[in-house]
Every structure is written in C-alpha cells, then in structure tokens.
Symmetry: C2
Subunit: 213 residues, 2 copies
C-alpha cells in the first residue's frame, strides 16, 4: 500500500493500546505484535518510545488545531466577537474533536482516554507540549471563551476553566466504563454525543453562564 503503511499501522496500534492500558503499561513488543510489524521498526521510524507517544498525540492534535482555527474563523464571520456564546464555543470544540477522530479513523473515546491519562500523569508536560505546538489556537479559543463570560475576574475564569477541563476530560476519558455502569444500574444506553449534549449546558453553568437548569 502506501509507502508508510508501517508508520500508520504502528500509530493505530499504539493509540489503541495506550488508551486501553496506559503508556508505561504498554510495551513496544505488544504494539508491534498487534501492528504485525517488526519490533525494531518503532525505533527506526520514531526514534524512541517517548517520541512514539508524542507522535500519537500529534496525529490528533495537528488536524484538530487546524480545523478549530477555520471553524472559529467561520463563526466570527457570521457573529460579532461578543455575540459568541459559551455554549456555541463549547459545541464547536466538541464537533471538531468528533470530526477529526472520525477522519483519522479512531474512536473519539480513545483520544479522550489518551488525554485523560496524559493529564493525570503530568499536567505540566502535557500543557507545555500543547502550548508549544498548538499555542496560537489554544489561546485564541480561551480568549473567546473568556469574552463569552463577562464580569468574571481572571482568576475566577482560570480556576473554572480547570474545573471544566476536569469534568469534560475525566467523564469522556472514562466514558466506556461509566456507560457500562449506567447500563447495569438503569438499563439505559447513551452515545457519547448524547452525553456531550448533557454536558455542554452543565459545564456552561459551571463556568458561570446563568443558562437554563
């Protein structure tokens, strides 16, 4: 197939296994075994296990920051900057995540789990990696979100932002496990999209949006 079929096979298996077990808990032998690829291929193509982990993230975050940028452009064409509501911005972000994961051919849950694992392990590393590589889009989004919440002091906004990230990343990164408990206890099933729709108004209220109850 494509000249770098091997690279893609490794990235796919690594995404799947890292999301399922964690980074330290997944060995290169398990990854290359699942990808049906030689063990040495990881170090040949990526250089090290650490570099493979970064490549797994870049595969998602590159397209996402590009797509979020043009989505924000579109929104700003049809709305004045201070007309953009909190919930519209959050919806926009989640749509981008859903679209890009589908384009790449990975489950959005797996991406959220990777995010959750990375954040839990090393808050600072992760933030540096994102700010260094995708800082422009990241800050642009945060500024728009801040503007959608008038009358909030910078420090209040700062903390509520982390409350929000916690609620979203934590819930969606464990989505599969939480969903199966829901199934067992309430005999009810929900998709990630349905949960995101429950979540957006809830974290809107969390951020300070009066909103609906």
């Amino acid at each position: 197939m494509a000249p770098n079929d091997t690279v893609e096979k490794i990235l796919h298996a690594a995404t799947l296994l890292f999301a399922e077990r964690g980074f330290s808990e997944t060995s290169l032998r398990t990854i290359t075994g699942m990808a049906e690829v030689n063990l040495a291929a990881v170090n040949y193509h990526f250089g090290s296990k650490k570099a493979l982990i970064q490549a797994v993230f870049s595969r998602f975050l590159g397209p996402m920051s590009a797509k979020l940028d043009t989505a924000l452009d579109d929104l700003l064409e049809s709305h004045a900057e201070n007309e953009l509501s909190t919930n519209v911005l959050l919806s926009c972000l989640f749509s981008v995540i859903m679209e890009v994961t589908e384009e790449i051919g990975e489950d959005p849950q797996r991406f959220m789990r990777l995010l959750g694992l990375a954040y839990a392990q090393t808050q600072e590393h992760m933030r540096h990696f994102i700010v260094d590589n995708y800082g422009d889009t990241y800050h642009r989004f945060l500024d728009l979100l801040d503007n959608s919440l008038p009358g909030l002091s910078p420090v209040e906004f700062y903390w509520r932002l982390y409350f929000m990230m916690g609620a979203a990343v934590f819930t969606l990164s464990s989505f599969e496990a939480i969903r199966s408990i829901l199934n067992a206890d309430y005999q009810q099933d929900m998709t990630m999209n349905e949960v995101v729709e429950l979540m957006i108004p809830a974290i809107g209220r969390l951020l300070g949006n009066p909103g609906e109850t």
Copy 2:
C-alpha cells in the same frame, strides 16, 4: 519505636512516590530506598506490590469513610434530611478529607493525586474497590446528595455526578501544577482550601443547584 514502624515507613514513602510518579513508574527499590528499609520488607509485610497499592488507599479511605459517617450523623441530628443543602454536603465531604489527611500526616494533595491517577487508569477497578470496601458510606452520601437536588431525573443526576467528580478530582489532583501556573501568569497564590471554596459553589451550579453566580 512502634513494633510496625517499618510498615508505616513503607506506606509513607509509597504514598509520596506513587503520587509523584504513578504506580507503574515507581519501583519497590525506590520506595524501600526512601523508607530506609530492606527491599524484601514490602513483600514480607504486604505480599506484593499490588497489595501495597491497596494498603496505601485503605490507609486514607478507612478513616475517611468512618469520619464521614459520623459527620453525616451529626448533620442529620441538627437538620431534617431534606434540609441538607448540596453545598453543605460537599463542604462536609471536603472537611473530612482535609481532617483525615492531616491526622495521618500526609498532604491532602497527595491523596487527591493518588485518586486522580487511580481513576484515570482504571475507572472500574477503583469503583469496585471503593464500593466493596466502603459501599455503605458511599451510597449514603450519594443518596443525601441526590435528595438535595429535587426534580433531577436519575440519569441526569448520574451524569452530573461524574462531571462533578471529574472537576474535583482532576483539579485537586493536579493542584500543585495548576497553582504554579497561576503563580507565573497572575502573580497570585492560593491554598487548596481557598480553591475548594471557589469550587463548591461552582460544582453546586454544575449539579443543578440554581445558587449564586
């Protein structure tokens, strides 16, 4: 000193190192090195690394569930059950966490980090461990919290509960890292207690409490 000085030294070092680096990333050699104790002592006293991890959690969760139980008794003596507000219940929970960590002589941040790491890695394992060992207190608290939020459907309550746990566990488990970014960007400092006081009304709103903005 006490006959089981060694056990306590191991538990303390393990708490500290697991919280700092993660479970897989911390070796028994590092733990016994810091505790100034023989390598074989971990397997002698606890049986395995896995059992040590469980013991580290039980050291916190045992006293916490006992103390939360009596604290809820006290609240129910002075208030009718349906007079207990969401925010009072949340304050009660956080007070218990702060008190018990102080009694044990561990930093509350370290306990929150352990919780965060455990939840991120294995949502289901962790929930089973808690429900199996401390299920009565756990469900009692959730029922009271549910009652403090009238008019919420079970499924809505269910999901908002996870949003809440995410906001709280994620933020407090990375408290040190988030605080240092605050320091750098806004030249302002905050204690965990101050952040908890910001957080309680915010997650009260998240849960559906109309509350103040």
